[in-house]
Amino acid sequence: MTTILKVLRYQARDAIRSRWLIAYLVFFLGVTEGLLRFSGDPTRAQLSLVSVVLFVVPLVAIVFGTVYLYNAREFIELMLAQPIARRHMYGGLYLGLTGPLALAFVVGLGAPFVLRGVASETLPALATLLGAGIVLTCIFSALATLIAVRCEDRLRGLGSAIGVWLLLTIVYDGLVLFVLSVFSDYALERVTLGLMMANPIDISRLALLLRFDGAAMMGYTGAVFLSFFSGAQGVAITLTALTLWVAVPVLLGARTFRRKDF
C-alpha cells in the first residue's frame, strides 16, 4: 500500500504540472465564473454547468488519460525495473491520473461558488454536481487506463478513447431515443430506467436533473425516475452501477498490466 502511495505521489506531482491539466482547471474556473456572472443566479448557472460537466469531464478524462499514460510508458518501464510489484505500480498509475484530474475539476468548478459563499439552497445541487464530476472522472480515467494498457498502438488507443466517449455521450442516447420512439405505444418507464442505468453519463444526468426539480417537466416518466432515485433500492442500484463502471475497467486493466511485456 505504501508503495502505491509513493508512486502516486510522484506521478501526481508530474501530472499536476502538465499544461493540459492546468488548462482544464482554468477552463472550469472560466466557465463557472462566467456563468455565475452573466446569469446572476447560482441555480441557473448550475443548471447550465450540468451539460458542461456531462460533456467535458468524460472527454478530458478519457483523452487526457490515454495520452498521458502513453507518454508515461518509459516511466512505467523505469519503475518496473525497481523492486515494485506490478499491482502497486498499476494502482499508483490509476490514482495518480484520477486524483489530479478530479482535483482540477473540483477546484475549477467549486472555487467560484465557494468564493461567493454557498447559500444553503444551492449547496445540495453543487455537491451533486461535484460528486457527479468526480465519479465521471474515476470512470473515464479507468476506461483510459484500460485502453492504454490493452492497446499498444497509440493512434488506435486514442481513436478508441474518442470512440468510447462518442458512444456513451451521443450514440447511446440516440439509440435509446430510437428504441423509445419505435415502441412509443408501450409504457417504457422501467425500460428507459434500465437503459439509463447502463450508461454512467445518463445516470449522472438523471441524478443531476432530478436535483433541479427538472422531474416536474418530464411528466409521468419524471415521476417514475424521481421515485426510483428517492428510494433506497434505486440509490443502491445506482451506486452499484457506478461502482461497476469503475471496478470493471480497473480490474480488467490490472489483469492485462500484470501479464504485459514492457
Partner: protein, 255 residues
C-alpha cells in the same frame, strides 16, 4: 555415488550470479528467444552481442521481469526469482532510451527512487559529480538534452551500488568524455566485485570492457565464454572481427 547439491551451493560452485534456464519468448509469430541458457559469472563483465533483432533487449528485459518469458527460469544467486519483485533491489538497470516524466526534475526523480528503495540501501553519487550534473538536476527533465538525460539514466543505474548492473547501449548519445567516464565507472565497479551485463553496437567499446561474451543469434546463444575463447574459436584478433565471423558462419549454416 550420486552427488546431491542444493541450488545455492551449485551457484556458488559455478560462480554464476545469474543463471538463465531455457528462457523462451514469443512475440506473435516471432520466436524472439528460443530456449536461452546463460550463466552470468560473478565479478565479471558480460557483453551480449548479436545482430539487430537477435533478442538482446528481450533477454535483458526478461531478466528484469519487464518482459514475461513464456517458459524458463531466472535464477539469481541460486534462487529462482521468476515472477517476483524484490530481487530487482539488487539490480541497477540502464535502459536504452532515457525518457522520464517530463515535468519532474532530475533531483525529484532520484529522490523518488531513493524513496522507493527505502533508507537501507547504499548510495553511490559519484557519477553526479563526474558528469557535473548538479545544475541539470534542478531543471525539469523535458528541457534537458538527450545526452544529459542519458547521463541521468546512468546515474540512476549506479545509484544504489547494486550487485548486478544491466546496461543496455549505455554510451549511445554520450560524448567521448562522458562515455569514457562511464566506462571507467563500469571497470571500477567490476574491480569492486560487482557483476555487469552490457550490450552495445560498438564492438571496440565492448572489447575494452568485457571479460565474457554471449553471442545471441536468432534467439539462441551461438557462443558463450570468455572474450579470448571467442577470438580463439574464430581465429580473429578483435571482437568485431570475431563477431562478424560468427555471423558469417551462421549465415552459411542457414544456407
Amino acid at each position: 555415488m550420486r552427488l546431491v547439491t542444493d541450488q545455492t551451493t551449485n551457484a556458488r560452485a559455478t560462480g554464476a550470479l545469474v543463471e538463465l534456464r531455457t528462457l523462451q519468448k514469443r512475440f506473435g509469430a516471432v520466436d524472439v528467444l528460443r530456449s536461452v541458457d546463460l550463466n552470468v559469472l560473478r565479478g565479471r563483465v558480460l557483453a551480449i552481442v548479436g545482430p539487430n533483432g537477435a533478442g538482446k533487449t528481450t533477454l535483458i528485459k526478461s531478466l528484469l521481469g519487464l518482459t514475461r518469458p513464456d517458459a524458463g527460469d531466472i535464477v539469481l544467486d541460486g534462487v529462482s526469482v521468476t515472477g517476483t519483485d524484490a530481487y530487482r533491489a539488487r539490480i541497477g538497470y540502464m535502459p536504452q532510451i532515457a525518457r522520464f516524466p517530463e515535468n519532474l526534475t532530475g533531483a525529484e526523480l532520484l529522490s523518488m527512487l531513493e524513496d522507493l528503495r527505502g533508507a537501507g540501501a547504499a548510495r553511490d553519487r559519484e557519477l553526479i559529480d563526474r558528469f557535473e550534473l548538479g545544475d541539470a538536476l534542478r531543471k525539469p527533465l523535458r528541457v534537458l538534452s538527450g545526452g544529459t538525460r542519458q547521463k541521468i539514466n546512468a546515474v540512476m543505474a549506479f545509484l544504489f551500488a547494486p550487485e548486478l548492473l544491466v546496461l543496455d547501449e549505455p554510451t549511445a548519445g554520450l560524448d567521448p568524455l562522458s562515455s569514457s567516464i562511464l566506462k571507467d565507472k563500469v571497470l571500477a565497479e567490476r574491480g569492486a566485485g560487482r557483476t555487469v551485463i552490457v550490450t552495445s553496437h560498438i564492438m571496440s567499446e565492448l572489447e575494452e570492457l568485457a571479460d565474457d561474451v554471449a553471442f545471441l543469434l536468432d534467439g539462441r546463444i551461438a557462443f558463450a565464454g570468455s572474450l579470448d575463447a571467442l577470438k580463439g574459436e574464430t581465429g580473429q584478433g578483435t571482437l568485431e572481427r570475431a563477431a562478424a565471423a560468427m555471423m558469417r558462419r551462421a549465415a552459411l549454416e542457414a544456407a
